[in-house]
Amino acid sequence: MSAPSVLYDAPGPRARQRNLLYAGLFVLVFAGLVYLGLVAMNDKNQLDWDKWSPYLAGLDSWTTYLLPGLRGTLIAAGLSILMALPIGALFGIARLSDHAWIAKTAGTLVEFFRAIPVLILMFFANTFYVQFTDFGRDVRPLYAVCTGLVIYNSAVIAEVVRAGILSLPKGQTEAALAVGMRKGQLMTSVLLPQAVTAMLPALVSQVVVIVKDTALGGALLNYSELMSTVGEAAAFYGGNIIATLTIVAVIYIVINSLLSWVANRLERWLRTRKKGTGAVVGAEMMEEQAPGMGITETPAGR
């Protein structure tokens, strides 16, 4: 091992031999499990080439099912983050207000909506639109999915914004007040611009959560996106459910890995750059945002 580990000393000759033995055993067990899995798949004809060929050797499956599905996923995720950003920023700032009643109200709303599963909000929005609006069947699922995601993620982003502002050194506020800025000026020209930079990694990381949550709309609200194409495509190509699910999962993994990579690069850049205060809201663990706990209390794992 290159980096010094808190757990292990640098291995000597005997330890190296033992590690080699463990590695061999692990590879054996792992290969055995993979083999069993493949045999089971083969028994159910899931390894046949005609089950996989629509995706690996044909374009029709992509243009008919996967790409339109991906479009649905990206539209829902994009709309949600665009709408959640300003609302979240508003609530995040409101929570830091000097007026107790504004801060308390915003705080209660944020904690309340962070405590509710996003699926509950989507179900509510869907039925709400059925009863009180005349949105057509074609757009209603999208609106319902976005409404649920916007409400939930506004609350999360409010916390991110608050953490971003709180992560700035106190001297920034003191200096701005010392040169005679008002509270509004302090927020708009000193704190917010720096906080936005500091919270970029966390925001990008949250987009991953949003992309993953759009799959709920496909599975439970008939919104046509990547997840909901699984059933249609697998039925059309003769029950190649494993192949279809694998391809869809790989698409999600590629998109989300790219986003996570961007978030990590942003975080590293913010931590190491010479300019700025070095304040940053980490990209790690955005998914487990728990009500009652601040974002800053979750240590960023390095």
Partner: protein, 222 residues
């Protein structure tokens, strides 16, 4: 106004969520610990497996994993997990899916906890002549455990909320019941939603406040 409630087993539905949460929490704690042991082990193959598993599973939507347990394990391979009726099979598959997904977050929290222990602590312990198990037991793990209370509590709360995803494979839990209720009782949309929202607030908020307080108490001041 509340008459229709007697037709539905709301508490029973929430009880399913609680059961899902508890079973999945125990399972993912075990599997997550095994994963983190691999991820920080001195054996490169195991580290590679741990990292690959985390990156693949974390970036897959939970919905896809849960639906996959049903479509792949149950419908293609006829895995029943020892259950003999549809309801139990769905429940057990959901628990399995939650364990596969949540364990990645448990693993990352534990790894972050281990990384908060300064290397000097272990070096000093080794210099004093403590053995590997002694270093782990007396020096590293006690400090690591104290700093993972807050992240693990967050994972638990996220899991509680995530159990609603089991609705995707028809497990009769709170979100599914809510869907049924707001479709049948069209005049009680707000009442029903408020009731279920409150139910989840009751499940998650006290846990968050309590464990957040505990985390602050036990955290190692550095």
């Amino acid at each position: 106004m509340f008459d229709f409630l007697s037709d539905y087993d709301v508490l029973g539905a929430f009880w399913v969520n609680v059961q899902l949460t508890v079973l999945a929490a125990i399972g993912s704690l075990i599997w997550g610990t095994i994963l983190v042991a691999m991820r920080v082990s001195p054996v490169p193959v195991m580290r590679a497996f741990g990292t690959a598993y985390i990156n693949l599973v974390r970036n897959t939507p939970l919905t896809v994993i849960i639906v996959a347990t049903s479509l792949v394990l149950s419908q293609t391979f006829q895995v029943t997990l020892g259950a003999d009726n549809f309801k139990d099979i769905g429940f057990r598959l959901a628990v399995l899916g939650f364990i596969a997904y949540t364990s990645t977050f448990v693993c990352e929290s534990l790894r972050a906890g281990i990384n908060t222990v300064p290397v000097g602590q272990a070096e000093a312990a080794r210099a004093l002549g403590l053995s590997f198990t002694q270093v782990l037991r007396i020096i590293v793990l006690p400090q690591a455990f104290r700093s993972v209370v807050a992240p693990l509590a967050s994972v638990l709360i996220a899991l509680t909320k995530n159990t609603t995803v089991a609705a995707a494979i028809g497990v009769g839990e709170a979100a599914l019941l809510m869907k049924e209720m707001i479709e049948n009782e069209s005049d009680a949309l707000f009442l029903v939603t408020a009731m279920f929202a409150l139910g989840f607030v009751i499940l998650t908020l006290p846990t968050g406040l309590l464990l957040g307080w505990v985390a602050k108490r036990v955290a190692v001041k550095r």
